[in-house]
Symmetry: D2
């Protein structure tokens, strides 16, 4: 089956690995932005997003951190926010064959932009 | 503050309570449909959605059940689904002043439709 | 068929109409927040959202305005925003039987909150 | 500014181009799945999605086709669907420096899966 899937791709395994990282990061942003979050549920929201992402193809690990500085958290009825572009800090490891990609999504102050980027691509030599 | 919010509404407290139920159910559908889910992460996904909804205004309780019959769950790379309209079964309690609303979202076979409906509106007499 | 749908609801027709308004407004927020928008595509985004909402049950009319003051629009690669809670101004008319509901979603400065509210409920006497 | 952005990436320009394609395709799936669609608004929904995607970084062209065979379209109140994984057929061109990537998202029957894949990576030689 993996063979069949592979036949659709016209690119190298490094490019495939990086593409898979892009899919997940783009998906995280567009699926979860808008979620209701405050200081009372933020731990569970992080875990929920990690649980969702972790079953996607080739995800070896994912860590989602929501910036606590942006959160409201009193007891007033409207005291919560919707998850916004500045709040997400994601580190993603994609493993495709022997390629490991570290992908990131985080708000970069100097760019005023929630950047998704490739932090590293590592070819894992499996030794002798 | 609640006073200020109330001033925007031109409806009865029963109507307000029912309106708040509609907001949450419409939001649940459109926020979470598309989430990656399979038998390995379904418990966490349910909890994550409940955690998000439970901090929204006037939510007294929420229960999210995802239909296990629809789930894939083997070890193959693509063995998951995206959360779809037929999979969600939500029971929501909204409390606004002394009004309790039970709202539902679930797929109704005879309608072939994921219906959001008002299961009950209860005026809680606080007696003396 | 409408008869069948109605049998699930335990509420008055006014409450039903207001519930339907809540569903749409909650759905709009959670479906479209996150959309890429800038001054070049904002007209089309507004029309696209209106087209989607207008086919939902009991929607008689919908107007979506995205606040131009929040938009970027130069030619730089990153010069766009994702649609955020402060940018949406929606006016929705729901018609259920002889009840007309005017629902609103807009950011209210004094509340620092994107409020969804019931602006009016009108019983249309068909008289003679 | 593009220089600054580039400094975050530890990968080749081909990999960067493919990564950008992944971001957009993952984002399209997770942003738009759930949208209300039927035969009456499908043209506008396609245009709306194209308008949103086209302003994202490095998008040279995008074509969104929604499978008409899946659509309802009568006059009954509930006669619409929410945009689902089987309905989307997207062709995306990403241009990063002199690299052109053709990315695809479409439901593949033999895989029973809405596959995002790299259809081609073309290095555009600019002459002699």
């Amino acid at each position: 089956m993996n063979e069949k899937v592979r036949s659709y791709f016209k690119c190298s395994k490094r490019e495939r690995a990086v593409f898979e990282a892009g899919i997940k990061l783009g998906g995280i942003f567009h699926q979860y932005v808008g979620l209701p979050v405050n200081s009372r549920n933020v731990d569970e929201i992080e875990k929920g997003i990690e649980a969702a992402v972790s079953i996607q193809p080739f995800v070896k690990a994912v860590r989602v951190e929501i910036n606590r500085d942006c959160l409201r958290g009193g007891d007033f009825t409207l005291d919560y926010s919707s998850l916004g572009p500045k709040m997400l800090n994601v580190t993603l490891e994609i493993r495709y064959e022997d390629i490991l990609v570290i992908g990131r999504l985080r708000y970069i102050e100097e760019l005023e932009y929630p950047l998704m980027y490739v932090e590293d691509v590592i070819e894992e030599t499996t030794g002798e």
